[in-house]
Subunit: 265 residues, 2 copies
């Protein structure tokens, strides 16, 4: 049987989702727990290869086994007893053989958290980028929707990725803010290497007045990484959700409407 | 000059506020940073000796020096550059010589955070107690105000404290909850050893149905630690605020009113 897990992790201690020779990965810890439970080596595939230090609330990982004797409803708690406390499985379900958590994904949502205050808050530092300079929130809110739509994201892609195409479609991109924190929520059909962290860094440039909010289309059109902002650090990023259900047509319509509105400005 | 600092810290790595021979304390790290800056040994005194693993957002610590050449407005950033990232100074002000951050405090507020869901969330584990069993929130909300008022808190005090009296006055005690988390906020003129963590554990007992919400007055009257609930773990606790200004008489009146209402039930 083929099983799909939903899992959350604090990425602080890990070299990222994927197994690497230079440190401990989330994948390694999950596969160790599964091997201990099932009595055979297990290979998992995930929806997203999150980078070192990046967190997840709704990562998905699939594996195959013929030795599952535990009811799936009980599998999360059993696995959590075997996993370190910074990794937690919240759900398990069966999927068809050959199901790919990566290629079956219809969309993913990432959230980037920024703590924006004169002095750092030690209780926020693990899950937020800290930016002490005042940020112009309206400028950032104005810039964000320019990313919505189908674009070539070469300007927002770090070297070292392995994607065949640099075109991605963004369905939602918005900044929300309260007194001393900001959150950037980005939903899209896929993401290039460091793409959300570079989008976040470019929105921060808009917030610092280094670029105009209306320059985003030009940065996209340049197809040149040097035109965009800095890559923000990994600790602010969370893979929030991966969905295997297509967006509702009404949502598609709404996104198209936002896209057209932005294009008209 | 005598200087009062406001500071925040993530208590995870520390043996608590106070210097100990068995590990690194927040006090040691702060005094090291001050000594490096001022060129002489510095002794700090704090408003609260938070325990190992307990966090703070509004701890206060005072020290004396005759060598302060940095404007106080810039002192927090200078100190933060010398401190580890899990300790952060947010404010510095002068106070009269001999000012005691502990004895001058009019009230303190602690917040205890509980994550209440079927499976743990790795992103919440550092700053929340995790309780997987469903909690009856109305029962906890009903029990909390019984703590308001002047009481002998012997039943809510761990062995090992050094307080001369076990009588304390609680001005506010309330539980707020959303989908999968609860926060207990307690404001009082002082707290005994582990008092907030035992109050939180006793409210959890009410939430689990192990005790009736109306049994709180009896547990107080028993003056026996064994009648109260378990001591919840340190990671859920935050010293939120220390105030050197007396509560407004209208707030006092409100507290008395709540106390009378509870007494009438």
């Amino acid at each position: 049987m083929h099983i799909l897990l939903t899992l959350a992790y604090d990425g602080t201690r890990y070299v990222g989702w994927q197994r690497q020779i230079n440190g401990i990965s989330v994948q390694q810890r999950l596969e160790e727990a599964l091997a201990a439970l099932l009595g055979h080596a297990v290979k998992t595939t995930a929806s997203s290869r999150t980078d070192a230090g990046v967190h997840a609330l709704g990562q998905r990982a699939a594996f195959h086994t013929q030795d599952m004797r535990i009811p799936l409803a009980k599998l999360p708690r059993v696995l959590n007893a075997l996993l370190p406390t910074d990794i937690s499985v919240s759900h398990a379900e069966t999927v068809p053989d050959g199901f790919s958590p990566r290629f079956a994904a219809k969309y993913k949502t990432y959230i980037y958290h920024i703590h924006n205050a004169p002095v750092p808050n030690p209780l926020l530092r693990r899950y937020n980028a800290f930016i002490p300079h005042p940020l112009n929130r309206p400028a950032m809110e104005k810039a964000a929707p320019y990313f919505i739509g189908r674009h070539d994201f070469t300007s927002f892609c770090a070297a070292g990725g392995s994607a065949k195409t640099t075109v991605r479609e963004i369905y939602a991109c918005a900044v929300s803010a309260d007194a001393d924190s900001l959150a950037l929520t980005v939903t899209g059909n896929g993401f290039l290497y460091n793409m959300v962290r570079i989008i976040a860094g470019t929105l921060v440039y808009a917030g610092l007045g280094k670029i105009s909010p209306d320059s985003i289309p030009h940065i996209l059109a340049a197809k040149n990484r040097s035109h965009a902002g800095k890559t923000l650090p990994p600790e602010g990023l969370v893979l929030a959700e991966v969905s295997y259900t297509a967006l509702h047509p009404a949502v598609d319509f709404l996104h198209q409407h936002i896209h057209n509105e932005v294009a008209r400005r």
